[in-house]
Amino acid sequence: MKIFVCMKQVPAAATASIDPLTKTIVRTANNAVTNPFDLYALQTALDIRKQTGGSLTAITMGIPAAERVLRDAVSRGADGGVLLSDRAFAGADTLATSYALSLGIEKMGGSDLIVCGKMAVDGDTAQIGPELAQHLGIPHVSDVCEILEAAEDHLVVRRVWDEVEQELYLPLPALITVVKGQNLPQLATIPGMLRGRDVEIPLFTAEALNADTERCGLKGSPTQVVRTFTPPVRGQAKTIEGSETQQAEELAKVIKEVLYGAD
């Protein structure tokens, strides 16, 4: 089976911070890491490969330094990585990103299975997986929490949505996005780390992918950020005062508002 895992380099959570002077997100080479959700995706793919055999390739679109997440994936057990990098890709929203990824996977000869993390912690959109599946014209299942069965031509997966649990049969080729679930991303080993250091990572530019540059990067992104701002900080707690009965009444009202929306 030919498996791809989509990965993204994101700022590390612990250091991801807003520059207090410029109010922009601080992104430096040293605090960039693999999107934590993608590690669950990778582990899911590793577990599937263990059962079905085949190849596992990590793919990312990003700046040249994003190569590091691919080396990280190889350190943890992937067979190889593919980097899509070009100035033309810069400033992409989810539509343009998923378009580029779809070309990258087609360039590599297509896939039987694509595994994505539920979302990236910097964007929180959870859209790349479904959009990529649509571009490739394959079915997908979002928010998978467990692989119940993995075979050459299909998967049986489980997901939990609020109060519903579903078991789904998914014919391949297909795409799944996985939540932080029961699999625990395993750490790299020392020999794995050295493999990750030494592996050749092929790089594809927009031209190499035959990409329509009108559909790439900022140009190919329908959404535009009008402005960004820091949210108002959690203010002081609102005190519920009055007699004991009044307090209880007010409290009941607050609870109702929180749970069922203001009326």
Binding site: A16, I18, I25, D93, T94, L95, S98, D122, G123, D124, T125, A126, Q127, P130, E131, A133, Q134, H135, P139, H140, V141, S142, D143, V156, W161, D162, E163, V164, E165, Q166, E167, L168, Y169, L170, A174, P222, T223, Q224, V225, V226, R227, T228, F229, P231, A237, K238, T239, I240, E244, Q247, A248, E249, L251, A252, V254, I255, V258, L259, G261, D263
Partner: protein
């Protein structure tokens, strides 16, 4: 079909277990104002089997028309067929704005629609408005784990699409509506490739870390018997009971309910803290809670520093009064 105008504002209204989800009505409520400001008709879209009385409800929430599309292919609510049928409708009737509740299902299928239509999609918005000069939809959403807010627009592609977080917009006051019948649009595609093998409703709360509602008790609860009040309130609200570490150490509560650094981290929509002082070890476990109500006798208790609502008083008395009120 003539009555379906192009360039309208559409709200996808999700049905779960034969009932409309409230987020659809919340969206219609806000969309009604947006539609009026930008002079567009407002349509509610229901896919699959439309529940009885749904047209009336959606009309009362502000929809000018209810468009529904049903077919055996839509019997199970799955990403691909639902996306395909919405793509089909959108290609036929060219909405200007398409809003979808950011439920797990909404967030799973709407991106396919956006990709197929080649348009933008803004995820999990918490606020919507219309830009005065351009009439464009302004979509505001938290980014970076809520550290930052971003306002986004889709200027040159149509429809302008957004998923909107449930519960952030109020339910509208129902209005008189002449609607009683939906406009039914047939959908003739095959069923998707994914098959639903089994679907079960799950009892929530095997694990407190996933609970949406938590009533948590601390040492201020006093005696073990008072925990009954906490349990009663949790039951009433459909939530779980949590505990601070001292209660677990004393054997009042099982470890499975311990919140904090050495117990579970929780991220409920509502956390009610009864008699919890708020040691840092405890606070470390509740950072993800959306709304925190704290009840404590000590006005300087650290728990109040992270609370949205505070009551200075004995939590046992407050709980007793509240339970009486809730019946």
């Amino acid at each position: 079909m003539e009555q379906i105008k192009k360039g309208a504002l559409w709200v996808f209204c999700e049905v779960q277990s034969g009932e409309l989800l409230p987020v659809g009505m919340q969206l219609l409520g806000r969309a009604k104002t947006l539609a009026a400001e930008s002079n567009r008709p407002l349509y509610a879209i229901v896919l699959g089997k439309i529940p009885e009385g749904a047209v009336k409800t959606l009309g009362a929430a502000g929809a000018d028309e209810v468009i529904c599309s049903d077919s055996p292919a839509l019997a199970d609510k799955l990403e691909q067929p639902y996306a395909d049928s919405l793509i089909d409708l959108a290609q036929k009737f060219e909405p200007d704005i398409l809003l979808v509740g950011a439920t797990p299902f909404g967030r799973a299928f709407a991106p396919r629609v956006a990709a197929a239509l080649g348009t933008g999609l803004t995820a999990d918005c918490t606020e919507l408005s219309i830009e005065a000069e351009s009439g464009l939809l302004l979509q505001t959403r938290p980014a970076f784990g809520g550290n930052m807010m971003a306002t986004i627009k889709t200027a040159t592609h149509r429809p302008q699409m957004a998923t909107v977080r449930p519960g952030v917009l109020p339910l509208p006051e129902p209005v008189e509506t002449p609607l009683s019948e939906p406009i039914a649009i047939p959908y003739n595609n095959e069923a998707g490739l994914v098959r639903l093998l089994r679907e079960t409703a799950i009892s929530k709360g095997a694990d407190i870390s996933q609970s949406k509602i938590i009533v948590a008790a601390g040492r201020g609860i006093g005696q073990k018997k008072n925990l009954k009040l906490v349990q009663a309130l949790a039951d009433k609200l459909g939530g779980e009971v949590g505990a601070s570490r001292p209660l677990v150490d004393m054997g009042f509560c099982p470890y499975s309910s311990q919140i904090g650094q050495t117990g579970y981290s929780v991220a409920p929509d509502l956390l009610i803290c009864c008699g919890i002082s708020g040691a840092v070890q405890h606070l470390a476990g509740i950072g993800g809670a959306k709304t925190v109500i704290a009840i404590n006798t000590d006005p300087k208790a650290p728990i109040f520093s992270v609370a949205d609502y505070k009551i200075v008083g004995d939590c046992v008395t407050v709980l007793e009064n509240l339970l009486k009120l809730l019946g």
